[in-house]
Symmetry: C2
C-alpha cells in the first residue's frame, strides 16, 4: 500500500511543533510541546521523537501509511549529514545527528532541513508559491531569513549556507549587522533592526513622536515604527522607507540572480499589510532595469504559523519522491 502521509517537525528554541500532512499539504493533526532546552540534550531529543509520534497517533493513522518524517531545524546544520551543528538558541543540541536518531527510534525515514529553507519549501509546495518552479522567500522577523527554490529544487550551496538572503549587501559600509558585516539588508529590513535603527537616530538627537516611548525607557518594537510612520512621524517614515527600499534593492538583486517568477514575503513584519507591500513594490519598480520585463510578482506568504510544520513535511515528501532520505 502506498504511503499517504508525512510528519513535519518544526524545532524551535521554545517549542517543538509537529503535524501529520497528506500529499496535498492538508494538515491532519497539529500539536506544540515545550522544547525544554534547559533539561538538556537527551530530553530535547526525546521531545522531538515524541512530537513526531504524537502527530501520527493524534491523526489516528496507521503507521504503515506514513512515508517519513521531515525536521526543520535552526542553523548552522547540515542537511547532507543530517546533523544539527551549533544553533544559538539550542546549544544543547550541538553536533547531534538527529536524522539518524529519529530514524532509529521511530523506524521511519527522516530528513533534516534548515528551518528557513523548510518554510520556503512549504510556501512553494502548498502556499503562496504553488504552481511556480522558481521562488524566493524573504522572512522578515528578528533577522531576515530566506529560501531560494530554483527549477523546483532548494538551493543549498557548497557549504550548505546558501540563501542567507538577510546578508545580501545592500548598503556597503552601512549599519552594522549582527553577522559582522556592514550594510546587510537585515540591518535595515528586519522587525528587530527597524526598531533599533529608529532608537539610534533618536539617541543621535533626531526628534520623533516615538520619544514618548524611548524617554519612558521603553524598547521600541517594529509595530511602533509602523504606527508612527502611518501617523506621519518623519523619523519613523524615514526608517520605514529605508526598510522597504533596501528590501526592494535585495529583490532586484534576486531578480537578476535566481530570476524567480515569484517573491514571497513572510514573517512578523508582514502584519503591516498593504503598507509594506505597496512600498516594496513601488521601490522595486523604481530600482529595477528597463532592459527586459522579467519582473517577479511580489506577494505575502500564505501559510502563517503552520509554515514550519508544513514545510518540514513537504521536505519529507520531496525526499520520498526522490527516494533521497
Amino acid at each position: 500500500m502506498a504511503q499517504q502521509y508525512c510528519v513535519g517537525v518544526d524545532l524551535g528554541g521554545t517549542n517543538i511543533k509537529a503535524g501529520l500532512l497528506d500529499a496535498e499539504g492538508n494538515v491532519l493533526s497539529r500539536l506544540s510541546i515545550p522544547t525544554e532546552t534547559e533539561r538538556g540534550r537527551d530530553r530535547v531529543v526525546d521531545n522531538i521523537v515524541s512530537a513526531a509520534e504524537r502527530a501520527i497517533a493524534q491523526a489516528g493513522i496507521k503507521r504503515e501509511l506514513v512515508a517519513g518524517i521531515g525536521i526543520g531545524s535552526p542553523g548552522p546544520m547540515s542537511h547532507r549529514r543530517g546533523l544539527i551543528i551549533n544553533p544559538g538558541n539550542l546549544p544543547c543540541l550541538q553536533d547531534t545527528p538527529i536524522r539518524e536518531i529519529t530514524r532509529e527510534r521511530t523506524g521511519l525515514p527522516t530528513t533534516l532541513e534548515n528551518d528557513a529553507n523548510a518554510a520556503a519549501w512549504g510556501e512553494y509546495w502548498a502556499g503562496a508559491g504553488k504552481g511556480v518552479r522558481d521562488l524566493v522567500m524573504f522572512t522578515l522577523g528578528t533577522g531576515v531569513g530566506g529560501g531560494i527554490i530554483t527549477d523546483g529544487r532548494l538551493l543549498r550551496g557548497h557549504f550548505e549556507n546558501g540563501a542567507e538572503l538577510g546578508h545580501i549587501l545592500v548598503n556597503p559600509g552601512g549599519r552594522l549587522c549582527s553577522c559582522g558585516q556592514n550594510g546587510c539588508v537585515e540591518a535595515y529590513s528586519s522587525a528587530y533592526n527597524l526598531a533599533r535603527h529608529a532608537e539610534e537616530l533618536i539617541a543621535g538627537g533626531r526628534h520623533s513622536s516615538l520619544e514618548a516611548r524611548t524617554d519612558a525607557g521603553e524598547m521600541l518594537m517594529a509595530e511602533h515604527i509602523v504606527e508612527a510612520a502611518q501617523e506621519g512621524d518623519d523619523l519613523a517614515t524615514y526608517v520605514w522607507d529605508r526598510a522597504c527600499y533596501y528590501l526592494a534593492v535585495a529583490t532586484v538583486t534576486m531578480q537578476h540572480l535566481s530570476n524567480p517568477e515569484r517573491v514571497v514575503l513572510a514573517g512578523g513584519l508582514i502584519a503591516a499589510g498593504e503598507y509594506l507591500l505597496e512600498s516594496v513594490r513601488r521601490h522595486f519598480r523604481a530600482l529595477t532595469w528597463k532592459l527586459l520585463d522579467d519582473f517577479p510578482e511580489i506577494r505575502f506568504a500564505a501559510l502563517g504559523n503552520d509554515a514550519g510544520v508544513i514545510g518540514a513535511a513537504g521536505c519529507a515528501w520531496e525526499a520520498h519522491r526522490l527516494n533521497d532520505w
Copy 2:
C-alpha cells in the same frame, strides 16, 4: 558504438568559433570564420551549420562518433525553446529557432545556451572549476557577465535571465548602468565602465596623469587606468579600487546566495593579474561576515579564448548525459 565527441559553436557578432571536443574537454579541432551579419540571416545560419560541420571534418572523425552540437549565443535567447530572441550584435537572427535548424541540417542533436552560461559551464567542466559542484563566474569585459552553477546545474531562472551577475545592485543610486539601473556592479567593475568612470571624474575637474590622453581626445581604456594606478596616480587608484571593491561586494552577496566553493574571474580585465586578484581578495576579507568561515576561493579562469567553444561543447555533453537535448 558510444559517441565520443561533441561540437562546440561560439556565436559572436564578428566571428563564429567552433571546435570538436572529446568527453574530457580536449580540443581536437578549432576554427574561426566570419559571422557575416551584414549578409543577413540565411547566410549567418549557413555559417553556423558550416562551422559545426567543418569542426568535425577538420578533426577527421567519423560522424557516428559525434554525440551532438552545443551552440553558445548572446542573449536574449531561450535555452528551453532553442530560440535566439533579439541579441544586440546579431539583429539578423531575431526570433531564429537555431536549435531546430541546426538539428535538421546536420542530423545531430543540438542544444542552445546563453554564451555567458556556456563559458561558466566550460570552466566548471574543464577549467578553473574542475572538481567543484558550486561555482560562480564573473566575466569582466565590456559588461560584467556571469554564470552560476549550483549542485552541478546551471541556474537559469524562470525567465531564463538568471545569473545576470553584472546587475547586482552594489551601490543603489550610484553610477548609471547601460541597463537602466543605478549602482550595478557592471557600472564600476567592467573594463568599459572603469574607463568611463575615470573620464567622468576628469570631466568633473579632477586632475590625473590620464589627462595627457583625454586632452589629446583619446578615449581611455581599462589598461590605461591599471597602468596609471600602478604608477600611483590618485584618480586612477580611486577608480581601480572602486572596481575591485564593488566586485568584492558582489562576491560577498554571492557567498550568501549560491554559497559557492569557488568564484572564478574571467574576461579582459584579468590581464591585470595579481594586481586585480589581490585587491578583490583583500576587500572581500574586509567585507564578509565573521559568523561562519564559508569563504569561496577566488581565482582566475583557466580556458582563455577557448572558453566559449569548450563551454558550448560541455553543454552538449551535459545534454547528452541527461538525454535532454
